[in-house]
């Protein structure tokens, strides 16, 4: 198995690559890959022939598991989550899984409750309420 035994997303031990990289939510990747697929569709009669299996499977996955379908909603989700002291990784996990309660959010992203983070339950609840509003009006 993975040689990096200390890797653990629950404790935000995710390696320098993820800490430096821009993480993307499924809904963001869905728009990007769909756009690419449309470009290929216009260029070729059989776009599936032009894309790799990796691209095709990723596109199917993000289309199926995107919580938000509207581009404005996706932008708002990132904007709202960016207001809280979250890392890119945590932001995307929350945007992908859309927890409904504070307990769910902490179970999905345990690193939020690390001491000194300044993210109390009130702040998390407000964040989830804001996200649910976007979903309601999407």
């Amino acid at each position: 198995m993975s040689g990096e035994e200390e890797e653990n997303a629950a404790e935000l031990k995710i390696g320098d690559e993820f800490l430096k990289a821009k993480c993307l939510m499924n809904c963001e990747v869905s728009f990007i890959l769909e756009h690419k697929y449309e470009q290929l569709r216009h260029m070729s009669e059989d776009p599936l022939n032009q894309v790799s299996q990796v691209f095709e499977k990723s596109l199917q996955y993000v289309k199926r598991f995107s919580r938000y379908k509207n581009p404005d909603a996706v932008r708002q989700v990132r904007e709202i989550l960016s207001r809280y002291q979250l890392t890119e990784f945590e932001l995307c996990v929350l945007g992908n899984l859309c927890p409904e309660t504070v307990e769910e959010a902490i179970a999905m992203v345990p690193s939020m409750k690390t001491k000194g983070r300044g993210l109390d339950e009130e702040a998390i609840e407000k964040m989830l309420n804001d996200l649910s509003l976007i979903k309601t009006f999407e």
Partner: protein, 183 residues
């Protein structure tokens, strides 16, 4: 997790295949880079390559003796999918056997959920076997399961097979089969 990362690759070009001018040479180098990534598909530390998003820099070419080849270091940004232990993901079950269930998750074809990591579920044999939970939920072919990544393994063999595989677990809150209407 999907992410946009900066990568560095060495592109080896035959000097005679380089274009007449700088722009044409760049085009040749980028084409070769895309060809290489398409064949590479994935790497152990970077995950699966989805698409190149930008070219940052093509370094100075260095000739390899009198071979006629030159190598260029190329820095670029790329979208990738790389699962991380401890991350929560969703997978779709495609095979159930006595020891557990196999799922696919994005470009990862093999995600194994062992019976040891699905407490409260027991195996029901038959033409289309499945796992039945104490709450009457089912883990069967076609079902979406929310799981936590236990471990990630890189497979590379002599037959050219290169892929990431995952071990999954549904031990914990908010994990397990998800209602179909949600997805």
């Amino acid at each position: 997790m999907f992410s946009e990362v900066e990568l560095l690759r060495t592109v080896i070009m035959l000097q005679k295949n380089l274009g007449q001018d700088k722009l044409a040479s760049q085009r040749c180098i980028v084409t070769q880079l895309l060809r290489r990534l398409s064949m590479e598909k994935a790497s152990e530390h970077e995950g699966y390559f989805l698409n190149v998003t930008g070219l940052k820099r093509i370094g100075k070419g260095q000739a390899i003796g009198r071979s006629g080849y030159t190598f260029f270091p190329v820095k670029f940004t790329c979208r990738t999918f790389m699962p991380v232990p401890g991350e929560t993901l969703q997978g779709v079950v495609y095979r159930v056997c006595r020891t557990g269930a196999f799922m696919s998750c994005g470009p990862v074809n093999v995600v194994f959920l062992s019976t040891l990591k699905m407490p409260g579920y027991h195996y029901v044999a038959g033409e289309e076997p499945f796992f039945l939970g104490s709450d009457l939920s089912k883990i069967e072919t076609g079902v979406v399961v929310q799981f936590v990544v236990l471990a990630v393994r890189w497979i590379e063999n002599v037959y050219g097979r290169k892929e990431l595989q995952m071990l999954a677990s549904i031990l914990g809150d908010n994990l397990g089969p998800i209602s179909l209407c949600e997805w």
